[in-house]
Subunit: 230 residues, 2 copies
DNA sequence: ATTACTATCTCACGAGTAC
DNA sequence: TGTACTCGTGAGATAGTAA
């Protein structure tokens, strides 16, 4: 909630970067206008308004003007800066899903317990999953979108394999937490029998049992992602 | 030089702080309007424009809207943030003076060599000053202003004293550098015979000699100050 | 209750220009 | 050269309102 007019922000920033905090720095309104990508007139007006609002002091020597930022100006700038900083930092780095339990069809359990997968789970996740996946029907469009966006983030990759009957696709695992209580992994399958609105989870123990869940129960799944730098 | 319209900055910041980077977060335009201190209509327009500019994605479920910030939105925000950051950090922490040498009247030399001062200079500055002050006539209003503003910053305080004839005022010393070559101290006297437009400097050696200065020579004096936090 | 349209108003900006 | 006025234009805000 800064008092400073947003339109003046870049102007003040420009003055800061020219060192106007501790010295009166000589400046022409045309060069200032160029820096902030506005006209000379706009720059002139900005300076006058910043002055009358108490954010800068001006000294005229004939036609030339020197400008210094006041304590108030610095305070305001710092305030805006910290608002932005906390906005960016507060932003939590997880993707959340909400939905309800649907009864598994036993298929997931079968596939995930295949040796070709189980071995990799053991080495990559640190455990062999409880035989049976938790299927969650997503509640809303936004979570289906979220599921798609998950694919952009790095995952633990469990490779596909083949036996003498057929081949099995890869499985991407995203460490997740269910109802903020139980650790699990959200899995994305190369080949799935579900539609987009269902996600599957595996865990060391039976999630349903641990959380006393049954078909229709509402659950919240949180997957941590790494904030991108830059 | 951000592409993002300045008017949208607070709106985007607000979305960030609500966690809209990694999840679609449900939001009403009226509450958003309240947060950014604009009308509901303005908030609605902001969202529409942010969307068409590719900074956010929106999902409507009936009358409700959920919003998520795109990678582009995050990049833009981070950009603005770092522009402000570098503006604030660039700000150099010194006060600068420019002016020309005026011949001393010998008075400064006399006073500064008084035992009551010299002892304190020795202990507080680490040296007994060369007998004779450098007098600099400031060139412009802005430097006279700067001189006044100096008083707000902490100085090395040399106390006044009295002998049986009279009392002598305090002297504030600000470590300074002349022409970026010679270390000295700018001194402000409680009682001075100069007008506002002249500053005096003392140093270990003769500044005039070291820098080959004579009356009329232009000099630049830089006094470091501590940036104020906050 | 919502969102977002249309109309209206205000004010930021740039053009022209006085000094 | 400079700064900073007046004035016309349009972007951005709000009010009222439809869906």
């Amino acid at each position: 909630m800064p008092e400073l007019k947003l339109q003046h922000l870049l102007t003040l920033a420009e003055l800061f970067s020219k060192g106007a905090r501790y010295n009166f720095i000589p400046i022409t309104t045309s060069s200032l206008g160029r820096s902030i990508r506005k006209s000379q007139q706009a720059a002139s007006k900005h300076l006058l308004e910043l002055e009358s609002d108490g954010y800068v002091e001006r000294i005229r020597s004939g036609t030339r003007v020197s400008v210094r930022i006041t304590t108030k100006g610095q305070a305001e700038m710092t305030k805006i800066f910290s608002v932005l900083k906390s906005s960016l930092e507060t932003s939590p780095s997880y993707v959340e899903f909400r939905g309800s339990i649907v009864s598994g069809m036993g298929e997931g359990a079968y596939y995930m317990s295949l040796k070709g997968y189980a071995k990799q789970f053991k080495s990559k996740l640190g455990y062999i999953p409880f035989p049976g996946t938790l299927n969650v029907k997503l509640k809303d469009k936004e979570f289906i979108e979220a599921k798609r966006s998950l694919e952009a983030y790095p995952a633990i990759m469990v490779n596909g394999f083949s036996d003498d009957r057929r081949t099995y696709g890869w499985v991407k695992c995203y460490p997740a937490r269910i109802n903020n209580k139980v650790d699990a992994a959200l899995i994305l399958l190369e080949r799935t029998h579900h539609d987009d609105s269902v996600i599957e989870l595996i865990s060391k123990e039976s999630i349903k049992k641990t959380l006393r869940l049954s078909a229709g129960s509402q659950v919240t799944i949180r997957v941590n992602v790494k904030p991108k730098s830059g």
